[in-house]
């Protein structure tokens, strides 16, 4: 019963509904929560794609850490609900632009991928188990791995410095 197609449909539905609500909700907290929903939906999708580790990490990092950060900020600043801006021309134009982007990305990709799907995979079947991922991560992508770690360090320092409450003697 719980075959892959139904799982896919279920999770993508969650993700899409979550995404739509993130964009449309006026209250940032609701938006944040819907985003958590979307993340969980996407995590589910990862599972259907066989990337278990990614699913867990997605939940842990995105839903667990990033969204909590968002909630912290929203709650600390106790933002009130922003009045929903009317659909000004700019808004209309931007929506139009997004529709165009969506069409452009989806259409060719779908076609192109199908054509190449038949192509023989160039590398031996490497199931997305933690071991394989780890080996790729530390062999082929060693440099990016180090760079990302550096990036995270910089982000931490940056975030602390930016958000630090200025001490009394410092100018705000």
């Amino acid at each position: 019963m719980l075959s892959e197609t139904t799982a896919f449909l279920l999770f993508s539905a969650i993700a899409l509904v979550g995404a739509v609500n993130v964009v449309t909700r006026r209250n940032p907290v609701h938006a944040a929560l819907w985003l958590v929903g979307a993340f969980l939906g996407v995590a589910g999708l990862f599972l259907t794609l066989g990337a278990g580790l990614l699913g867990a990490i997605q939940v842990m990092v995105y839903a667990g850490a990033i969204m909590v950060l968002f909630l912290f900020v929203i709650l600390l600043l106790n933002l009130d609900t922003t009045p929903f801006e009317g659909l000004s021309i700019a808004r209309g134009a931007s929506l139009l632009a997004t529709a165009a982007t969506v069409a452009l990305i989806a259409f060719p990709f779908a076609r192109a991928r199908e054509l190449r799907a038949a192509a023989v995979p160039d590398e031996p079947e490497l199931p997305a188990t933690a071991g394989n991922i780890a080996s790729i991560l530390f062999h082929q992508y060693a440099l990016p791995f180090e760079v990302v770690s550096l990036l995270l360090l910089i982000a931490m320092v940056g975030a602390i410095h930016l958000a630090r409450r200025p001490r009394r003697d410092e100018p705000t």
Binding site: A90, A93, S94, A97, T98, A100, T101, L104, I105
Partner: protein
């Protein structure tokens, strides 16, 4: 012989440099004496050269000496090899002779004339430089050296006219002289280039055989040289600078603007006579210009108040005669007239100088009169010169002028009616010359004295007197000595004609007609002289009477045909207007164009700046649009 030639050139240059650098320390007469000494030695050298050349057989009668190679470029037919050297031949020696001869007399005259001037050393240094330039012009081995002399004399005349710094008039006249000469020089230059292109050489020696052999020469080439000659010898279009050049000291006028420099034009035409002959209608142009200038200048001279201006216009008129002679092909006659003219015109100028010296700078004829009692010797000398100028029998002028008229009449007689017109113009000018000379003499020396009372004129000091006397003798004897055509006594022609081109269509007058013409010319001169003397002798009644009959013509003459104003109107002012126009165009358009480029980029930057309006959404939106475009591009 090379030494003689070399010295002839080095001496004046050395003296000019000597006086130029150390002149300040020499006081009083020493600079003058030094200069005169140098001039005299040069005259001696010239005579030595003359004698040497007489010794040589006729066809080998030339000496070529080159000192150092000035320029040597190119190869084969495009070779341009010019040396600094000397080319002595009868023509150049003749010129050297009368240049140094008259020159040394004028140097002598200047000693006393410039005695009280404080810049005398500078004056004499310029005079020596002038003598050097004139000599190198005449003796130069190739046309470039002639051109060197040509511009050199132009420069010296500029310096000498503007000798008296203070006077604005002198400065402007100097500049005018140089500029007008320069116009002529352009013609000379173009002539030279063309000659080099056609014949590949500029050296007189090398050109002689070529010119002899050449048959058809592009007329414009010859006319190029003629324009140069007009510029230097003040012919019709370019004569305006000579009358103004009178602003310089009188000996300068005598030396440069009567005897030597102005004859350079004739020398050039004579030197290149074969070219002129070969250039079909070039000679006719020369003839007609000469005749027209003679007549034109003669008319203007009629009503000039300033004694030196009268002489200046008479010089222009006489030069016209010379060019008329060249135009007719009688190159020998032209040379003859040049020499005689040098004598009596120098005499007249020096005489006028003595008069002015006596009257402490007064030059206006209406402020003179009755001077023959105070300056008897000067009066006598000037009368001789005047008679020579007017062309009265025994005096020099008569022979040379008559010869020219004779040739004109002969060619007319030989079947070319236009020559008769030329002869007619010549005779009319002769009459006018006699008239204004008489007018000048009577106004100056005869009649009642209109001199400023507290001026008491005294006779010219010794050096001036000597110079006057020598020139008087030359004016009297010179003509007959050099050539009495009717009596076939023509030593000058025998001496100079072989070097010049043979006249294109030689003519011969029956002796009776010849003598008749001479008598006619004599009669006209005497008659015109008497009328002139009578008109201006007494109370000027007849003169005033003539004025009333043709008032406008009189004023026209008085205003010198307004030639200066005409030139200013037609050339100088438009040229200056074009210059102003160019300046404005340059600043506004060309510069504006580049400045515009600058402001355009500023404009561009302001428009682009508007895109940065600080709204995050705008940036986001444009990012998306950009992405979309890229995608369509990638996928299309």
């Amino acid at each position: 012989m090379n030494l003689v030639a070399g010295l002839l050139l080095i001496l004046p240059l050395a003296m000019a440099a000597l006086l130029g650098l150390f002149g300040k320390r020499l006081h009083g007469k020493t600079p003058g004496l030094l200069a005169f000494g140098m001039a005299a030695t040069c005259f001696g050298l010239a005579v030595a050269a003359f004698l040497h050349l007489r010794g040589l057989p006729e066809e080998a009668r030339f000496v070529e000496a080159s000192f150092w190679r000035w320029l040597d470029l190119g190869s084969g037919d495009q070779r341009l090899a010019l040396d600094v050297g000397v080319w002595l031949d009868p023509l150049s020696v003749t010129w050297a002779l009368f240049v140094t001869g008259v020159g040394s007399l004028i140097f002598l005259y200047s000693i006393s004339y410039m005695e009280h001037e404080e810049g005398a050393w500078r004056y004499f240094s310029y005079l020596c430089l002038f003598l050097f330039s004139m000599l190198i012009l005449v003796l130069g081995e190739n046309l470039v050296l002639t051109f060197l002399g040509w511009e050199g004399v132009g420069l010296c005349s500029y310096l000498l006219i503007g000798f008296d710094y203070g006077k604005e008039v002198a400065a402007r006249a100097g500049r005018k002289a140089f500029v007008v000469n320069r116009i002529g020089d352009v013609g000379f230059l173009i002539g030279m280039f063309w000659t080099w292109k056609l014949y590949g050489t500029l050296g007189h020696g090398e050109m002689k055989p070529i010119m002899a052999a050449v048959t058809a020469v592009p007329p414009l080439l010859a006319l190029g040289y003629f324009v140069g000659a007009c510029g230097k010898s003040a012919q019709l279009p370019l004569f305006v600078w000579l009358p103004d050049a009178m602003a310089g000291p009188t000996p300068v006028s005598a030396l440069i603007h009567a005897a030597t420099m102005v004859t350079a034009g004739i020398y050039l035409v004579l030197r290149l006579s074969p070219l002129f002959v070969a250039a079909e209608w070039a000679l006719d142009v020369v003839a007609w210009t000469g005749a027209a200038t003679a007549l034109f200048a003669g008319l203007i001279a009629l009503r000039q108040r300033d004694i030196k201006r009268v002489l200046a216009y008479s010089t222009v008129s006489q030069l016209g005669y010379m060019f008329l002679a060249c135009g007719l092909g009688a190159f020998g006659a032209a040379a003859f007239h040049v020499i005689t003219h040098a004598f009596f015109k120098a005499l007249l100028f020096l005489g006028a100088g003595a008069v002015i010296h006596a009257l402490h700078g007064e030059q206006d004829l209406w402020k003179m009169g009755g001077l023959k009692h105070h300056l008897p010797k000067t009066a006598r000398a000037m009368t001789a010169g005047a008679f020579a100028l007017a062309g009265i029998f025994p005096f020099a002028g008569f022979f040379s002028k008559d010869e020219i008229l004779g040739v004109a009449f002969a060619q007319g007689y030989a079947g070319d009616p236009s020559r008769y017109v030329l002869w007619g113009m010549g005779v009319l000018t002769a009459a006018l010359t006699a008239f204004y000379t008489a007018r000048m003499m009577t106004l100056c020396f005869g009649g009642t004295s209109r001199v400023d009372p507290h001026l008491h004129p005294h006779e010219a000091p010794a050096p001036m007197a000597i110079a006057l006397q020598v020139l008087m003798v030359a004016s009297i004897v010179g003509g007959a000595a050099l050539g009495f055509e009717a009596l076939h006594w023509m030593p000058l022609h025998h001496w100079i004609d072989p070097v010049l081109a043979a006249p294109p269509h030689p003519t011969h007058l029956p002796p009776a007609l010849n003598w008749g013409l001479m008598a006619l010319a004599m009669m006209i001169a005497v008659l015109a002289w008497r009328i002139g003397a009578k008109w201006y002798g007494g109370d000027f009644a007849p003169a005033r009477q003539a004025e009333l009959t043709a008032p406008r013509f009189a004023k026209l003459l008085q205003g010198r045909f307004f030639v200066d104003e005409l030139y200013a109107l037609l050339i100088v002012r438009p040229l200056r207007f074009v210059a102003e126009l160019c300046l404005e165009f340059d600043r506004r358009v060309v510069d504006g164009l580049f400045r515009g480029a600058g402001s355009f980029s500023a404009l561009l930057s302001t428009t682009v700046r508007l895109a940065q309006n600080g709204v995050v959404h705008a940036y986001a939106f444009w990012m998306v649009v950009g992405a979309v475009l890229l995608l369509t591009l990638a996928l299309a």
